[in-house]
């Protein structure tokens, strides 16, 4: 790992100011960033830890019933504290990595990184969450722009993620047991005004919505509504763990499992 300066501000304003210096980078739980730095794939001049900012911690239920999660909240905390207010999301958080990783990794870090096989991007896109930053609010549909790419500007910090709570939701993860990421993961959320289906782990373009399945499920919310629908394998990820065709097939399987879990 190349060396860097380290700062741990206690307010969002101080963190934003520190991130203004050249090549400074925000540090969440570091469960992806630190291994990346060890491989010398990045060489920031400074890491600005977001873990000392009290206003970015914790889970709360807003007046309108939505669940708001501070950007620096760990997966373990979400798994525990969102269990009653948004159980499907809490279950997703409880499946990330392993217990020690969940005690460090944060929701803001995961969403800002937008790993194509990460769980949280599916939860956020599937829920139609709002990504709250230090300057604006971004709908999940506009936030995820492709593998490892988001709408975040340089130095912009995810301070919170706000989730509308659906009538029913389920995250179905086909685990890649070595990495503990999703080989394919489907987050399905059923709202009064429609169904959202978000898929992670599958596409070269990162997390995406399976709009054909959403339309079919808006017509009839049952597994056979997906009959005849399939994902084009063309843009799927292919690696030693699974071919394009395998992943495309799994999208349908995991979506059906999510439908059944929501019945």
């Amino acid at each position: 790992m190349y060396n860097f300066e380290f700062e741990k501000p206690s307010t969002i304003a101080d963190a934003v100011a520190a991130l203004g210096s050249e090549d400074a980078q925000a540090l969440g739980g570091g469960q992806t960033l630190i291994p990346t730095l060890k491989q010398r794939l990045a060489s920031p001049s400074a890491l600005i830890s977001l873990n000392g900012i009290a206003e970015m911690q914790g889970v709360c239920v807003d007046d309108d019933g939505s669940v708001s999660i501070g950007g620096a909240t760990t997966h373990a905390t979400v798994a525990a504290e969102a269990a009653s207010s948004y159980p499907a999301l809490a279950a997703l958080a409880g499946q990330i990595g392993d217990p020690a990783v969940r005690n460090r990794g944060t929701i803001g870090g995961s969403i800002a990184n937008n790993d194509p096989a990460a769980c949280y991007p599916a939860g956020a896109l599937g829920s139609g969450a709002t990504i709250v930053t230090n300057t604006r609010q971004i709908g999940a549909d506009d936030f995820f722009e492709g593998m490892f790419s988001t709408a975040l500007d340089e130095g912009e910090i995810i301070t919170a993620v706000r989730f509308p709570v659906p009538q029913a939701a389920s995250y179905q993860k086909f685990l890649q047991p070595a990495s503990r990421f999703a080989l394919v993961g489907v987050y399905l959320a059923r709202f009064a005004d429609g169904v959202r289906v978000a898929v992670t782990g599958a596409s070269e373009d990162g997390v995406f919505r399976w709009s054909e399945a959403e339309q079919a499920l808006n017509g009839a919310f049952r597994t056979d509504a997906l009959m005849g629908l399939s994902i084009n394998p063309m843009n799927m990820i292919s690696d030693l763990h699974g071919s394009k065709e395998y992943r495309a097939h799994l999208v349908g399987v995991m979506t059906k499992r999510a439908i059944e879990a929501c019945m």
Partner: protein
């Protein structure tokens, strides 16, 4: 270099570290506490698990400066006050929950964290909790058995392997 201070196994310690110094490196190289092992250095194997403010974390994946002011627990602090093995360590010995022993510090620290939250875990819960701790010798059977024994459960019917 920046000075960091923390409590390790109840004792205040401090040292000068670089930004890139990992908590595992601070423990091993600055404090010469080599009980915390670094196996993979990619946060997958779990040999480096320590407790930070009571929570199990992988110390090779946390910066030393992030632990400034924290309360750290390591394998060196696990034995009883008289130096005898604690319940978990003794169970690992009794049930051959180790062969080469490299993964054992992490296994013991993860077990301690598990039993704090879940004092009588099922076999499935133990295997689930240990998914971030890799052992290349035992096949896990005797580790799971040791943890069940350490949590006061009858393991006499579980075959030795």
């Amino acid at each position: 270099m920046t000075q960091v201070s923390m409590t390790v196994n109840g004792k205040p310690v401090s040292g000068d570290v670089e930004g890139r110094t990992l908590l595992s490196g601070f423990l091993r190289e600055h404090l010469s506490m080599t009980g915390t092992h670094v196996g993979c250095d990619t946060a997958q194997c779990g040999a480096c698990v320590v407790h930070v403010n009571g929570e199990a974390i992988k110390s090779c994946n946390m910066l030393a400066m992030e632990a400034d002011g924290a309360d750290i627990g390591t394998i060196e602090g696990q034995a009883n006050a008289d130096g005898s093995l604690n319940v978990i360590q003794q169970a690992f010995q009794d049930h051959h929950g180790l062969q080469c022993g490299f993964c054992t510090p992490g296994m013991v620290m993860s077990t301690a964290a598990l039993l704090k939250d879940n004092p009588r875990p099922t076999e499935a819960e133990i295997r689930k909790y240990l998914e971030g701790n890799l052992c290349r010798c035992t096949g896990y059977h005797n580790i799971v058995k040791a943890i069940m024994a350490a949590s006061g459960q009858d393991v006499s019917q579980i075959a030795a392997e």
